[in-house]
Subunit: 272 residues, 2 copies
Amino acid sequence: MPQPALPNARVQGGTRVFAIVGDPIAQTRSPLVFNELFLRHDVDAVLVPLQVPAADLDTVMRGLMRIPNLGGFVVTVPHKIRLVEFVDEVLPIAARVGAINCMARAADGRWRGEIYDGEAFVAGLRKFGRDPRGWKVFQAGAGGAGRAVAHALAAAGVARLDLADVAVERAAELLADLSRLYPDTVFRFAHDAPADSDMVVNATPCGMAAADPLPFALDPLGPHALVADLIMKPEQTALLQLAEARGLATHLGRHLLDCQAEIIARFWGALP
Amino acid sequence: MPQPALPNARVQGGTRVFAIVGDPIAQTRSPLVFNELFLRHDVDAVLVPLQVPAADLDTVMRGLMRIPNLGGFVVTVPHKIRLVEFVDEVLPIAARVGAINCMARAADGRWRGEIYDGEAFVAGLRKFGRDPRGWKVFQAGAGGAGRAVAHALAAAGVARLDLADVAVERAAELLADLSRLYPDTVFRFAHDAPADSDMVVNATPCGMAAADPLPFALDPLGPHALVADLIMKPEQTALLQLAEARGLATHLGRHLLDCQAEIIARFWGALP
């Protein structure tokens, strides 16, 4: 029998198992990204997709969390908020955001939850030489990922954050929270991107479906503005296509996922 | 990003997931064998090891069985008997043996359980050109796998089956069951392998540990006798080493596993 060359091609008895839980799950790129990462670092681990219907979340998670060689989860739609209650310890950003996107089993068996969307988004910017320190940023969307990104941008030292959301109260709550934590940063509620924005970020789901309208207009922006989208599928959203057509720099949603895999794998203790 | 060449090196969102459940689990060869099989048949599926402590069996299995893209299980020690109660339908051999070694989710969502140890053992013999039809066989061990093997040997048309077990009642019960089902075959209780045996089979756990005594003596056997062991680790048990030293043909435990993977993968609907 030939020995396959790739570590996760030969998942074996001692291989550490990780899972992404969500519903639907077939569209997720996470297994590809994580398994490629394990492969690159020669780590004997595999990440598998597990479809977990919302109605069965309790039953399934109570079961999965008792499997000793299953060391961690990536948490995706629609479980990010409900799974906060399942972990023994909610880490700081997750506590503020009210959502987790990953769970790790600590050495003592306790489960910890955190959300790394924001940290990974900022890491992705920096990977392309774009440090947001001092930037004026416009962001649409204050949902789970949006909140995490806003917190991370504030922590990264943006000078100003203009926030738009159809749910005004949700946005106001986030702005108040951020203002308390980062008194030197300007936080404002906005409807449209100001002309002097250094970056505009789409943190709404607008753009996942082909028929979606644009999440916001690009008309006011100057030529130096960076247009970022958190959406991963399609990779080239209508917003990013329009930005390119106008000669603006763009930043893809998948950079977040690529950076996040490393951050989460370290959180699991699966990477050195 | 380079595209890994092997299908299960790139487990992705749509990959079908299967699991082997047992405790301990790190020693199992099943993931290697199944994943190599999926690879060879270009099937987008992966089998992962899941350690399931006996104390958590209910909680874990109730959870796992609700995951729609988890289509089947290999069941190993110590869960083969208890999981019989978890399936909606117990297939014929499992019902007779009182144990299952695999579970499959049917199209209607119902779970079915069967034990294929015996069928796989006979398939392994045939793969090496050894059809047991008409053979006189001595077998030690009437536990779960032993019962399955005895049923399969009877179904394959052996002329005589001599059965040894330290638990005499268990052996007697199996012999009575087999005698009813196969009235043309001779079934006897035995302590030692008769000199005219065509094959002797070790279906006891004796030989897994280095300090184990031999499960039975090879002294009475003629030169044409085949010595088979169901033990997979170590691959070369003391029994098989002694047989080789005496010039007798041997049959390894792993042939059962190799054949079983195909049979079980078909039971899952994962192989064409």
